[in-house]
Point group: C2
Chain length 456, copies 2
Amino acid sequence: MAELTKIILSEKDAPTHWYNLNADLPRLGVELPPPLHPGTKQPIGPETLAPLFPMALIEQEVSTERYIEIPEPVQEVYRLWRPTPLFRAHRWERALDTPAKIYYKYEGVSPSGSHKPNTSVPQAYYNAQEGTKRITTETGAGQWGSALSFACQLFGLDCEVYMVKVSYEQKPYRRVLMQTWGARVIPSPSPHTEAGRRILAQDPESTGSLGIAISEAVEMAVQRDDTKYALGSVLNHVLLHQTIIGQEIIKQLELIGADWPDVVVGCTGGGSNFAGLVYPFLAAHLDGRPQTRILAVEPSAAPSLTRGSYAYDFGDTAGMTPLMKMHTLGHDFVPAPIHSGGLRYHGMSPQVSALKEAGLIEAVSVTQNPIFEANQSFAKAEGILPAPEAGHAVWGAMSEALTCRESGEAKTIVFNLCGHGHFDLSAYDAYLAGALQEYEYPAERVQASLARLPQV
Amino acid sequence: MAELTKIILSEKDAPTHWYNLNADLPRLGVELPPPLHPGTKQPIGPETLAPLFPMALIEQEVSTERYIEIPEPVQEVYRLWRPTPLFRAHRWERALDTPAKIYYKYEGVSPSGSHKPNTSVPQAYYNAQEGTKRITTETGAGQWGSALSFACQLFGLDCEVYMVKVSYEQKPYRRVLMQTWGARVIPSPSPHTEAGRRILAQDPESTGSLGIAISEAVEMAVQRDDTKYALGSVLNHVLLHQTIIGQEIIKQLELIGADWPDVVVGCTGGGSNFAGLVYPFLAAHLDGRPQTRILAVEPSAAPSLTRGSYAYDFGDTAGMTPLMKMHTLGHDFVPAPIHSGGLRYHGMSPQVSALKEAGLIEAVSVTQNPIFEANQSFAKAEGILPAPEAGHAVWGAMSEALTCRESGEAKTIVFNLCGHGHFDLSAYDAYLAGALQEYEYPAERVQASLARLPQV
């Protein structure tokens, strides 16, 4: 009998708490500057967020408890796909001819195919607990929108998804998935909101943008007492919910007596799957385990961690959200249309940004074609077709493994395969046809956007 | 801690042998008539199949050994996704308000998203062992073609897939998946074969059919010494490979001390996922376990088991294959364009047909809209979006569960969710729009085709 391929954690050994990085920031020597009011530029209190989020989530946003219990109804839903498998990439290691040991956590087994339900489920749960009837959100390619649609359905909430119109029209499958789970999907800009009507008045043919969709979703939440808003990344409470990923990995590695990882690799867009992967390794080091190198891989087209400024900026394009101190390319910078739609964001989670500033994590950026090459190499050996976003982590792990081939070191590499590519096959088609465009660091556009950072 | 949601079998407890129904046919009182030569109408020997299949598979086709060992290299690949999870449908049971206990085996976790790799992997393995360089096959919607592409890649074989032209053009995503795994995908009819050229000479605009694609794939295999052909259902050795499904289920039910199932439900097209599910339950009954009701669910548009004749007929439209005694709608009957492409076949596996004749299994047929209703009900409760084909089993399980609601009986129901619906969202779109056409039993067309059955 060969060494295990899939390391499976039983449901009774699943983590029962989320790990809250905020509790450990002082010990890590990390300072997390507070969010500021977009008008007054003064630090905001939790009450400012009350029109948008239920109190339980706002409390999690500012909590300094180290572990926060996962409610049993949330754990019950998690069991539909969690604990997720940790794979030892035996076949890919042989294909890469590397002495490295590669493990990958596979979050694509969730109903919507990514890590996003780890947070959409508790967000829907807490909203339902506090009497919310409806949740609004925005979605681009549809990963987050489908995860929230799934979660709302489970807790009897209406879900209203403002979907960027060009995606609504060109990529109907994610929309259909959301509708199958009962969500109402609205092409944005829409005539239902002030923000949407303003855009349509200027340009009736507008194909929309994530910034506009956010404005519409927020407006609809603020207007109605029974309606709240939900976000799929960036905020502390969202990252908190993802920490089950890394906690499960540590238990799974312990289960087989594996070496402690030398390097852990995640892709970064807003930072949530990355945080979920790596925060528990930071905690474990504080608790006496060896230090692990932590590597973030981001797209060259939206390189906030590697090329952005660490500054106060808005979370949305229109400048309606609180100001957050983060790595940013400027809130009006619109990344090139790469196929990793989930990573096309101008900013980075404040927590992840602060870790980067403190030197606790490394970051690199990479263009599209190497990502798809890495994904195809992986799919040919391991079977699973990764999402382009997840491919950034695949590429990072492959680079580390190939370095080991050169050096002869048998390092232990762990990465998070945060989603499958079943809805990204048109991107693979373009790649196989050699038609995938490369977008390098757009220096001048970033400079222009950074010049318009808000003065604080 | 609630009762388990996912019952996971560890890799070390995975079945090491396939179960061969042929060994038990005498004890079951079932006679399996031999295949006949299409020309002479005389029983054919294994050597007749040698141009198409490697000897190891031909031996399995006629073997009467009860258990056949799964080669270690095949087991190693199986571990990429096997053992697959068995789920207890807690949430769906509550949604249906039924006292029944519903379990579903989920085969959609395989790299290509269905049960098909259970047989494509050993087929590719045995071909590689015997020096085959290339495997040809046909595919309609692409489930089988993608499973074989994946398997060929793993064992260093070229894969040539003749894909029905209308699907090649209208459903590019499965094609891209095959190409990502390295397969050559050729729209059929093609100019590369005699069969293709003949069709194109008659009709240069032909959109193809599964029958034509089979003819092309078989022709290309017969012509070249280094090339064999592979089939994704119907034949004994294909069904044999699927028996790991039912064997795993029995182990998983034993693991939690579950009641022995009252009824086991599978969908039927050619019969392979159904056989893989139910054969081990037939074997277990012979070995002293209680009898289980076995229910096949097929589409009303292609109701071979419920409305076909039990007669000798060709496996393909053109009449080139050996004659097999099976439930058939006539080899030139072309089923209506239902979205369950994997079930659009005129015949039924000879083994499954013989079981039906012997009264060991039941069968029902159902139209499209009830299938999609059942699938949506399931997806809203359990998260997973089933393939339309798999939906026939979902519908069957739901019907049984609703009967239990009426009677108050807490029966144990097991079904096989043989694939996910990620590549079927255009079908869901049509369903949600109320645009899904119903196709009832096409009595006159079936009668006309049956009138053309070959005389034996």
